[in-house]
Symmetry: C2
Subunit: 192 residues, 2 copies
DNA sequence: TATTGTTATACTCTATAACTATA
DNA sequence: TATAGTTATAGAGTATAACAATA
């Protein structure tokens, strides 16, 4: 158990991540809104996802995803394919152009990080990733506290039945090791 | 030098910090706007700071700080004391109430983190903090790239002269180990 | 009746530029 | 003339609630 000072220190350091990411995004070699770009990385990591799943992964409301995906569609970087098993839902899929864009984004980030991480060992880098992943996993598993009805819950309540995402497509993108969703109140409504 | 895959992995993990902080802030036992609350932590860490210094530390425009500080003032959590050495500038100082609030915020964060970090050793926690601090330091020291005129610059150009902040007050809050500012274009104007 | 996703709307946060007052 | 901070304004990003379509 970490001391109060250690916790505060960690919190301050975590807070500093935000302006770093902001600067990274700002300097991206693209124009237009930035907010939806993160979805590209999620889609490449996890494969095709439904709108609601994207919302969960990103920790934002579904209505926000609707806009971001519409934006990505307009740019030709993502497309929506109907879910043959459920006429209400869509799967979002990266286009070939979208793949190219996420590759460029990764390359750009790497150019910046390459300088920053110049004197890091591979072990340092993977250790930081590992600790952050562990932090996230622990955070998502934190219990509900009374008086705060909009909290996450542990467990994997997302897939509501057996079977594969659509037809005999790829396996559920939710195998372990992947980040757990940070549910919004909107999403929680469907769970409680 | 980390591999492309390692970079991408790290980037994804860093991205996950954002929704965690969002959830943490959202559940804070306070009402009203959240954005200015981060200043309280900065002020306790660094002592009294000028508006512009707060902007640099936070990586946002001065005009944003004006609003946040005004908000904190209205809540009675911060006050502005004139700088006797420069009639144009102000120092922002935590009030006793502000100290109490930041204590409560830290305690709240600790309650949440205590669960998350339950099975972490102290070494794990401090290691994560250390790596994040190192990342931030390296990031702030990254060189300017051509075609992107709005980048940070290394060095410590903030204190524009010898002497203490105001009168014979506390030492400059910028001794080493503290986070380097992420300058905005607005702030950069004053540097180039 | 419940759920997926959309739309209308409003709120939060932010940057830009024009402004003031001091230096 | 330059700088510290403010204000007016606009834009990005988000959440909430009401809604349509499907289960």
């Amino acid at each position: 158990m970490a001391s109060e000072a250690d916790c505060e220190e960690l919190l301050a350091r975590l807070g500093e991540v935000v302006p770093m990411l902001k600067a990274l995004k700002r300097d991206l070699p693209f124009t237009g809104p930035r907010a939806g770009l993160g979805l590209l990385a999620v889609l490449r990591r996890q494969g095709d996802l439904r709108m609601g799943e994207l919302a969960e992964c990103s920790g934002v409301d579904q209505s926000v995803i609707t806009r971001h995906v519409a934006d990505l569609q307009e740019r030709g970087w993502a497309e929506r394919v109907p879910n043959p098993r459920d006429g209400r839902s869509w799967y979002v899929r990266l286009t070939a152009d979208g793949e190219r864009v996420i590759d460029e984004m990764a390359a750009h980030a790497r150019r910046v990080l390459a300088v920053t991480l110049d004197d890091w060992t591979d072990q340092d880098v993977t250790e930081l990733s590992r600790l952050l992943a562990r932090l996230r996993a622990g955070f998502d598993a934190r219990p509900v506290r009374p008086g705060h009805p909009h909290h996450d819950r542990p467990g994997h309540p997302r897939r509501d039945g057996p079977g594969h995402p659509y037809l005999d497509g790829p396996a559920p993108p939710d195998e372990d090791g992947s980040p757990r969703p940070l549910r919004t109140s909107q999403t929680l409504k469907g769970i409680r």
